[in-house]
Structures are given as structure tokens and as C-alpha cells.
Symmetry: C2
Amino acid sequence: MMQLQVLLVAGTHGNEINGIWLFDEWNKSSLLINTHGIKTFKVIGNPEAKKAGKRYIHNDLNRSFQKELFLSINSSNFERSRASELVNLYGEKGENPCQIALDFHTTTASMGSCLVVYGRREADLALASLIQNQLGLPIYLHEADQKQTGFLVESWPCGLVVEIGPVGQGLLNSRIISQTKLILEALMEQIHQVKNLNLFFPDKLIIHRHIKSIDFPRDKEGNIDGYVHSLRQSKDWQKLNKKDELFCKLNGEIIRFEEDESYIPVFINEAAYVEKNIAMSFTKRELWNLKKEWKQSLIELVHQK
Amino acid sequence: MMQLQVLLVAGTHGNEINGIWLFDEWNKSSLLINTHGIKTFKVIGNPEAKKAGKRYIHNDLNRSFQKELFLSINSSNFERSRASELVNLYGEKGENPCQIALDFHTTTASMGSCLVVYGRREADLALASLIQNQLGLPIYLHEADQKQTGFLVESWPCGLVVEIGPVGQGLLNSRIISQTKLILEALMEQIHQVKNLNLFFPDKLIIHRHIKSIDFPRDKEGNIDGYVHSLRQSKDWQKLNKKDELFCKLNGEIIRFEEDESYIPVFINEAAYVEKNIAMSFTKRELWNLKKEWKQSLIELVHQK
């Protein structure tokens, strides 16, 4: 039986530096984080972008893990090559096969600490529910968004994204570092418990299911001509109802939310999403029952059955 | 007598976008800001860096206004060329001569809104005192720092920097836009009052005089190995006393302020200053008497005597 190995990634976006800094410190003092004897590989996702102080060089690395692109390993596109390289090095069938990938991000939105799962993979949901049970973090289920695909963690059998904010791009912040460390430790501890079959799954988990994203208001030429309303700014995870303020224009015009449905907005005013035409995303808050198959899937993965 | 003309600059740093956005909106609706009939020129300081989403291409533009560098107008260094170009276009002896330059910045530090003056030029201090009297903004007097020179506004007979924060780089924020607009309007109104000789100078002004900057803690290889302590983060303008917490290391070690002097720290954890080895700057808060010569200097400048 092969040993469980976990891939830890920071700096998938080169200007999200708090995780990178934590890894650097951990490299200096190996006892900083207790991995409970589980073999981990720490990598900087996008070292070139990190050097350049940018999110990416050619393309968003966290949209570049698409199987059809892996053929082009010698691509002149840095992120496509890097995605192939990471899969070849640490993928399930790579040189150092890892079964779980944990990808540490930061956001300029006031998201606090949260977990992002992509699609409804059983092992992901099981691991996320363990962390939610322990730390109370919200889980954002990203699915059914055809415009956004190719996320790093999807190339591993199990994988979660950790998002922490608000923090500016390129900025080291004590609170963000502490939160990153805390969640990394909780993840390693829970994986260890799964390994020891010493786990306490909750009966239910709260999911924020992605419904859609909305763009900024734009003028006739397509330029953004309104900004997030001050009553919406930093109100991630707080219910949005009909007639609530969404955007504001400098002439004083207020753009309100006009749908009859109410949503929970997330990633409000994330700086990196402006180029993706996303001002915020809308989710539905749902209480799900934990399924037995999810637990089984995570246990089998960790035990390499 | 030549007419008074005022240069307004946003995006001197390409990733400080709130002022650029305000100028764009102002271009669309010319009545957005009341200039009281004063001729203004609005420019994006560093359009190339703006396109690239970076602070600068080759060098910080706001350290590139050094007279000895203006000879090299055809320099391959973008910012040096741009500095020469701006002086040739809008300098005192340029194509569109401006007597006053107002340069709108943002910071990731929790500075609120403040004015920065460079050195003790009489007209700068007079104009700053008018704004402090009206809006209560703190004034940061930057001087005696040999490592930091070549600021844009120093190339004009009178010039102020407006700094507003906290806001992440590349991020549009409703509060920051409103504050930028408010201060721009106050500046135009006060300049208008000076023109009409209808001014109410205060007797005194409060100055935060730059004393020195301090670096982050570093390891033997020179890498940063500590971050701003959570009790210091976002505490700009708040007194720092002996034994107060400054930095923290991940091993829990706290680095305290050990001098007997107390200071007022500013620009705490400004993302762009990390490369300048500046974790924060220390100032002394002083109450100055307004001098008659300052008023006279500003009046003469505005009236082109």
C-alpha cells in the first residue's frame, strides 16, 4: 500500500503572498506546523508570477488545469506549462503521487476564512464537512459555471481551496497569516484522524451553492461606470433582498437588486475578478445531509484502497 | 498676466485606480466636479503601468522627478521619459504651464485621508493649512529622507499629494472614490478662494513631521521573517510608546519598540513600500504657527505676480 501524501500549494496566484510566507517560515523551522507524520509537499504554485508581483504571467494558473491543455506541456504559455508540470510532479500518477491537494488563497473581498469546493466530489465534501464541524467555516460550492473551469484542485482525487480575506494583493497581514496557519493545521489534523479512522462527521453541513455571477454596470463603450455600493461593500455572506443597494454611480444613481429571489453574495469586489467581469457572485444557503458514501470515499482515498 | 492653471494627476502609480476612475467619470460628465472656472488638466500619471496593472514599469514614477534625470528624455526607462514628458507638457515652463500640481494616491495602510507635503515650501504649507482648516485632514511633512527623492509635485511651484486608504492595489472602493472627490472639490474651492482673496487661514496647523522609516525584521539571508503585529496593524496616526508591540514572528516572538522617544507611525504595512525596506514611518506631531510669508507666497503664485 502506498503512503498517503498531501500536496500543499500557496501562491497559485503570485500576488497572494501570505501562504507563501507561511511556507517559507515553515521551511526554516520544520516544527512550525504539525503534519501528524503525514508526508506533505509544499510548493509555490506560480513562482514566476510571484517574482513579478502579479496574479499570473499569461493566464490565470487556477483556470489552466484543463485536461485538453496538458498536451501542450512545452507551451510558451507559462501557466499551461506549469499546470502540466505540477500534475506530472505531484498528480495521482506523478513522480510524487499526492491524493489530496490543498490550495491556499487570499481575496480582497471580506470573506473571512472559507473553503471552496468545485463540483460535488464526495471526498471533497466529506473533508470540508470535517473542517466546518471543527472551525465553523462556510463552504462555497462552485459549480455550473461554464465560464470558469480548470481549477487546480480538480486535477487531484480530493482537493479544497482555502480562501481568506480581506487582504490587499501583495500585502502581508498578521491576521491572514494566523488564519492560514490555523486552517492548515486543522486540515492536517482532520486528515490524520481519517487515517486513524478516528473521525466525527457531522450529520449535516451548510453549503453556499453558486448560482451565478454578476458584472459591474457598464456604459455604452463597455467601460465600468459604477462601483459596489457602500452598503454592499464588505457584506459577503449577508443576505441580499429585492430592492437592496448593489452599485452606485458618481451622479448619485443607485442600482438596486431587482429579482424576487434572495441570494447570499460572495466575493464582493474581489480585485482579481474585475477582468473576469465579476462584481460579485450569488449563492443559495442550503442545509445538506451528510451522505454515508462521502465518508466512505474519503476514507478509501486516505487508506489507498 | 497669465491665467492660473492646475495640474491634476491620478494613477502616478498604475495600480492606484480610484482617482483614475474618478477622472474618467468626470470626463464623461463635465459638471461632476466644480472647478470654479479654474482651468485644470487631468492626466493619468503612468498610463503604461495602469495598463499593466502595476505600480510602475521600470522605476517608481513618483521617485523619478529628479532634475539630473530630465536630460535623458529619450531614456529607455519608461518612468524617466514620462517624468520629463509631464514636465515639458505641464511644468511651469511647459506647453500648458501649471502653477499647482495635485497628485492623488491611495495606500494599503489605514491612513484615512491625508495630505503629504515634501519639504517646507511656503505655498505648499499654506494650501495644506487651508484644507486642514476645512476638512481636518492630517498633514504628513516628508523631509530629510535622502533615500526617497524625486517626487512629482516637487517639479511644480506648488504641489500636494493626497493619500487615501486603506484600499488594496487595483481595487475600486466606494469610500475611497467619495473621499477622493471630496478632497479634490475642497482643493479647487480653496484655490478659488485664494484667487478671489477671500480666504480664512487658520492661525496654527498640525504637522506630522517625518523622522525616519523602519524596516521589517529580517533573517541572516536578509529575508523578511516577521510581520506587523496585529496590535500595530491599521493603527496609523496612533502614538507608539516604548515597549509597544511592533512586529511578530511565527514562533511567537514579539519585537517591541525599544526607544525612549515616542512617535506617531504612518504608512504602516503599505504594500508598495516592502521593496523599499519600509515597514512603517515614524513622525512627530507638532503644532506650528502659520507664517505670514506662506500666505503671501501662495497668493502671489495664484495671482502670478
